[in-house]
């Protein structure tokens, strides 16, 4: 059995498992949580591609997530566009913004790019909170209608479960193909050395901008769906705590593989649920900032003791197992 074959088998098992899950679990609790997993996984996957594959140290993923949510939400709540058109329009707007911001910012590298995108995170959060007439300010945007496409209205966790996981797996599939294409190889090359990449006729700024805009659009789609799922958004949902959560997912899962962040988001969201269920009695005020304590400790522990994350650990385990089997056979 070659490695490609086994790989696709694992994916089939994963997808079948996901498809069967809503029918075997009682109630909507598990499905609801898995919706969150899907949204976060999409976002974390895009961010991991930027951070690890392309070496673009951008922390702007929550910003584009939030912009996607707000643009689609405002358009739908004010009944300017139907929700499905709002999602597409939001993606276009975010793509334009990412292009305009990315063109000058991606000339920066390392810490400076991180600082600039970190600043962007706060700028957007404060701007959303301050422009109260349009966005609802600190209290959040209310009155977002449910998502409906050609007369079919999505209601409840069950529908959103399938939509969000289709989006997540679609993004994964897209990134997987992209990284195995000419574009992906170019991106990997410029991660290793920009000078070497440009010496073999890779247009470094253009490829960087391309992957930056692509991940921003993915984040925007996830954000738009997220706002229709919750029917409610506040600026603080897209701030620093979300960034910490995303970093935790990427670190837990390991960013060297594409499925790492998905694994990370499954672990992280269920961990968050476990914290909320079991520590409710001990810690009365459970906010995103309190969750961030656990995630922060987790990031530090994993970076020190298991730098490759879960995916790296699993890979090593599989390698070890194969060698063991090969020897015994």
């Amino acid at each position: 059995m070659n490695s490609k074959h086994r790989f696709s088998l694992l994916w089939v098992v994963f997808i079948v498992g996901l498809a069967v899950l809503p029918f075997v679990t009682p109630g909507t609790y598990v499905i609801g949580v898995m919706c969150f997993v899907a949204f976060y996984a999409t976002l974390a996957c895009g961010m991991a591609v930027l951070l690890e594959q392309a070496g673009i140290f951008s922390l702007a993923a929550p910003t584009f997530f939030g912009l996607g949510a707000y643009v689609a939400g405002i358009l739908a709540a004010r009944e300017i566009l139907p929700p499905w058109a709002g999602i597409i329009f939001a993606a276009l707007v975010v793509a334009a913004i990412a292009y305009i911001i990315g063109a000058p910012l991606l000339r920066l590298r390392g810490y400076y790019l991180a600082c600039a995108t970190f600043g962007l995170l706060f700028i957007v959060e404060i701007a959303l909170a301050q422009s109260g007439e349009i966005t609802g300010g600190h209290d959040g945007l209310m009155g977002i209608p449910p998502l409906s496409v050609v007369g079919f209205t999505l209601r409840g966790d069950f529908h959103y479960y399938f939509v969000s996981w289709v989006l997540c797996l679609g993004c994964l599939w897209f990134f997987f193909n992209m990284m195995n294409s000419r574009v992906g190889r170019a991106i990997k090359a410029l991660h290793d050395s920009e000078v070497a990449a440009s010496s073999v006729a890779i247009n470094v700024p253009r490829f960087k901008l391309k992957v930056f805009v692509l991940t921003a659009v993915m984040a925007s789609f996830a954000g738009s769906l997220y706002c229709f799922y919750l029917q409610f958004t506040t600026p603080s949902m897209f701030g620093f705590p979300l960034l910490v959560e995303l970093l935790t997912m990427i670190v837990i899962g390991g960013a060297t593989t594409l499925y790492g962040p998905v694994l990370g988001s499954v672990v992280l969201i269920w961990l968050r649920e476990a914290i909320h269920v079991y520590l409710k009695g001990i810690l009365p005020k459970l906010t995103a900032e309190v969750d961030a304590v656990f995630f922060g400790v987790l990031i530090v522990a994993i970076l020190i003791f298991m730098p490759e994350g879960l995916a790296g650990g699993l890979d090593r385990l599989a390698h070890f197992g194969r060698r063991l089997l090969g020897k015994s056979a």
């Binding site: 991180a114 706060f122 005020k285 990031i299 530090v300 730098p307």
Partner: protein
């Protein structure tokens, strides 16, 4: 209020803010230059200073002793951070450093929130609450105290870095680590010292500003970021940082006064982004070597 007195008032608040950003900016650059870690917990040290002083003070300690305890605790925390979080990393990259410090910042912030709640806290002003009038603008003694202490810190650091053996060694290891090691300088100890210094200075800043602006668990990040803006705009040098911080403070003071106080935080961040972008653009004929 006349335009003159308004202008003076905004200038005073700008200079106060600027002197605070200057010291915070120095905290960032001291750590960055020696350890190459962009320490996102800097702002949390500022917050910790204020909050710990408040906590010790409400526990019944006098103001001077609670200030002392708070500074000592913050220094200890920041040294522990270097020892337990930054140093054990085997293959450090800029990205892991940044993730580590962001994670530590969120841990500190969350723990403070858990322990002392989300209310804003205030320390009593050190020298009473009278108002000194000046061109029709009011200045409280606390503001003068802040500016004086920040100036003293900056001058003291300048003297320390340029006129003592230890300071010279610090500068040397910032310029060339390998060279410094070859001259028998213990870099590991210096890294610890730099974190301690940044923690201590941050704590002092947080304490002296706590009577003017309220302190609370969430002030750390934005205050810290503004210091970072000053450090980046000042090119990580001390004089540059001070100049940039004062300019930033004045810009913020006038921006908040004449434009909108809600968007004054955005202003500093936009300045940072514009500055970073401007650095990358090389104009023909102005090319750097």
């Amino acid at each position: 209020m006349t335009l003159l007195s308004e202008t003076v008032q905004y200038a005073i608040s700008g200079i106060t803010a600027g002197s605070i950003y200057a010291v915070i900016g120095i905290c960032w650059s001291v750590v960055y230059l020696i350890t190459k870690v962009l320490n996102f917990t800097t702002g949390e040290f500022v917050m910790l200073g204020g909050m710990l002083t408040w906590a010790f003070h409400t526990m019944g300690f006098g103001l001077p002793s609670s200030v002392l305890f708070a500074v000592a605790c913050t220094i200890a925390i920041s040294m522990l951070l270097e020892r337990l979080v930054i140093r054990p990393i085997r293959f450090p990259t800029e990205m892991t450093y940044m993730m580590l410090t962001i994670a530590s910042a969120s841990v500190i912030k969350g723990l403070v929130l858990l322990q002392w709640g989300s209310e804003s806290r205030r320390i009593e002003p050190f020298f009473g609450s009278g108002v000194i009038h000046f061109f029709g603008a009011g200045v409280t003694p606390q503001v003068l105290c802040v500016v004086a202490i920040m100036t003293l810190i900056t001058l003291g650091l300048h003297l320390f870095l340029n006129h003592t053996l230890f300071g010279t060694a610090l500068r040397a290891s910032a310029i060339n680590q390998t060279g410094a090691k070859l001259m028998g300088i213990d870099i590991g100890r210096f890294r610890l010292f730099c974190f301690g210094l940044a923690g201590g200075l941050g704590a002092v800043t947080g304490i002296v500003t706590a009577p003017i602006t309220f302190t609370g668990y969430e002030i750390g990040l934005l205050t810290g970021l503004k210091g970072l803006v000053a450090a980046i705009a000042g090119g990580w040098s001390m004089t540059g940082t001070v100049a940039a911080a004062l300019a930033l403070g004045l810009l913020e003071g006038f921006g908040a006064g004449f434009v909108s106080s809600g968007l004054k935080d955005v202003l500093a961040l936009i300045v940072m982004i514009l500055f970073l972008i401007l650095q990358t653009i090389s104009f023909p004929g102005l090319r750097r070597r």
